[in-house]
């Protein structure tokens, strides 16, 4: 973990609300794991006050680059989208644990809902590099909410769904699950809205296959000190709170308490 000012090498709008941000951050590019994230200070003013967490979408050690793919949601992401090439950003990271990739190559299913697919790009790339066979289910509310739909197939078979039917199969990403057979896979990874993750878990648990999910909780510090990002997890018979930032954001889906918030 480092705190540094990093230069914006490029910032481009991909779709109506998605932006791809390329940062010069060689130290992070060298050490990052897929699924880890960074905390960016989007403004020098006191409102918005806190840093904003963003998954690392991609990285290139040779060029010393790190990429963030983000959606404009509120004032912080709006400010970020208004930054210009050459600006510097105060970045803290890499943070969190990241996805774990079993040593022996096998078949992986990656399921991403909306902007939740952002970290799956780097994961797919890593899996691909380690000779895993990758299948991707990419869903979004509409076409403009799909993360790089053209390009994902670079890493493996890609099935696309949109809620409004503007592209691929019409319906939620979970409705495409019957198109793939869980037992074919050695490892499932998912990132997206919590109801989607819960539905995927319900489907995956039947087969007992390992599912890693990346959770999204509101964060203050991002580094395990404020205890603000608590999510209930099972620890033996007990339910305790895990820190999504430092003990996650990736969890074994079996540990997560899905249907109880207390």
């Amino acid at each position: 973990m480092q705190r540094q000012y990093v230069e914006i090498k490029n910032l481009k709008q991909l779709t109506g609300r998605y932006y791809l941000l390329t940062l010069a951050a060689p130290l992070v590019a060298r050490s990052v794991k897929p699924g880890q994230f960074v905390q960016l200070k989007v403004s020098a003013q006191l409102d918005p006050l806190l840093r904003r967490p963003f998954s690392i979408h991609d990285w290139c050690d040779a060029q010393g680059n790190v990429e963030i793919l983000f959606q404009v949601r509120g004032k912080g992401t709006r400010l970020l989208a208004d930054r210009k090439q050459g600006d510097y950003l105060d970045m803290l990271g890499p943070l969190g644990n990241g996805f774990s990739i079993p040593r022996a190559p096998g078949k992986a299913l990656l399921i991403g809902g909306g902007i939740g697919a952002a970290p799956l790009w780097g994961l797919a790339k890593s899996l691909h590099a380690r000779n895993w066979q990758v299948t991707v289910l990419l869903g979004g509310a509409g076409e403009q909410f799909l993360v790089r739909p053209e390009e994902f197939s670079r890493w493996g078979r890609t099935i696309i769904t949109t809620d409004d039917g503007s592209r691929g199969i019409s319906g939620r990403v979970t409705e495409a699950l019957p198109l793939v057979a869980a037992q074919e896979f050695d490892q499932i990874y998912a990132c997206g809205p919590k109801p989607m993750l819960a539905a995927i878990y319900d489907w995956a648990r039947i087969t007992g296959l390992p599912l890693q999910v990346s959770l999204d909780e509101v964060m203050a510090c991002g580094m395990g000190v404020c205890l603000g990002c608590a999510h209930p997890v099972r620890k033996g018979k007990e339910t305790v709170y895990a820190k999504v930032c430092s003990q996650g954001p990736v969890f074994d889906a079996r540990e997560v308490v899905w249907h109880d918030q207390a």
């Binding site: 973990m1 200070k41 105060d90 991002g222 000190v225 603000g228």
Partner: protein
């Protein structure tokens, strides 16, 4: 000019500089070791401890507000035993004074906590009196001068460590509480704790926080904190540790000039995890530029110089 003297005295405790961390915003310090030299800090104040472990409040626990942060962590902590066994030994290695913030729901709990920390590597206790007194229908100890004094007396009787008392700002008369607590034997006062606040999620039409209410911190509350430090530092003879919205050297100077002998960075650590060390450097530079030999000479200068304020 020679290096300015940043040494600070908090009752019997001597700190190498006046910059500490605010409880609950710096974890147990160890988390910051990759980012800064812990040994450079005046002191590390750790997350509030209770006798037994506490799992804390249901999420969501934090929400950003205009220049502020609302939190309802619910004092999640591993309990004092686990802290002493597993965390303190690691923290000791950094040779920085460790101040333990303690919370209880009864006088006994405070007394037991104080006794337990005695004869450990801990440098001082900070008594968080913003807790509900379960024997008095949940009335917050820190809002009633007599009850606040009782907590302090109970702690005082059970420890030989310096006792810092952390005041709640959610009161009509902060000076009354401060006087009462000082009379009960506090060595120093910390202020302010968070302001009671809340936020509504207009999409869900429900409170945002799992706990409904939360504590407001950050730059938004600084004017209230400065006012209370100004009032209290003129009313009592013990040192005041000022906090509430400090993110920069200028903020720290405001508190010191208002009467704070030391300052603590809280929410500021989330915005800039290196804020503490940058502020220490900034204070040193300020003293050099302004030809101030001892930082102590600035404490309360805004009311010591000129006529007394109201």
């Amino acid at each position: 000019m020679t290096r300015p003297d940043l040494t600070t005295h908090i009752g019997p405790l001597t700190l190498k500089n006046p910059v500490m961390t605010a409880s609950g915003t710096f974890g147990y310090g160890l988390e910051f070791a990759p980012l800064l030299d812990l040994h450079a800090l005046g002191a590390v104040v750790v997350k509030g401890l209770t006798l037994a472990p506490r799992r804390g409040n249901p999420p969501p626990r934090v929400v950003e507000t205009a220049s502020g942060l609302l939190n309802a962590i619910g004092l999640e902590n591993p309990g004092v035993e686990s802290f002493l066994k597993e965390i303190l030994p690691q923290l000791e290695k950094y040779a920085v004074p460790v101040i333990v913030n303690i919370s209880g729901n009864t006088l006994d709990e405070y007394a037991l906590l104080a006794a337990r920390l005695n004869d450990t590597a801990v440098s001082a206790v900070e008594v968080n009196i913003s807790c509900p007194n379960v024997k008095q229908g949940g009335l917050v100890f820190g809002t009633v001068p007599e009850q606040a004094a009782e907590v302090v007396a109970a702690v005082r009787a059970n420890t030989s460590l310096p006792v810092i008392v952390k005041l709640s700002p959610n009161v009509t008369d902060i000076v009354g509480i401060a006087r009462s607590v000082a009379a009960a034997g506090a060595d120093a006062l910390s202020l302010i704790n968070t302001l009671l606040g809340m936020a509504i999620d207009i999409k869900r039409r429900r409170p945002v926080l799992g706990n409904v209410f939360g504590g407001l911190s950050g730059p938004a509350v600084k004017p209230v904190a400065i006012r209370m430090v100004w009032q209290v530092s003129q009313a009592v003879d013990i040192p005041v540790i000022g906090m509430g919205g400090i993110v920069s050297t200028e903020d720290a100077l405001e508190f010191i000039m208002a009467g704070a002998t030391a300052v603590a960075v809280g929410t500021g650590n989330f915005i800039n995890p290196q804020a503490t060390v940058e502020i220490i450097k900034g204070l040193e530079e300020y003293c050099i530029k302004e030809n101030i030999a001892k930082i102590d000479d600035l404490v309360g200068i805004a009311w010591k110089d000129g006529q007394n304020g109201k």
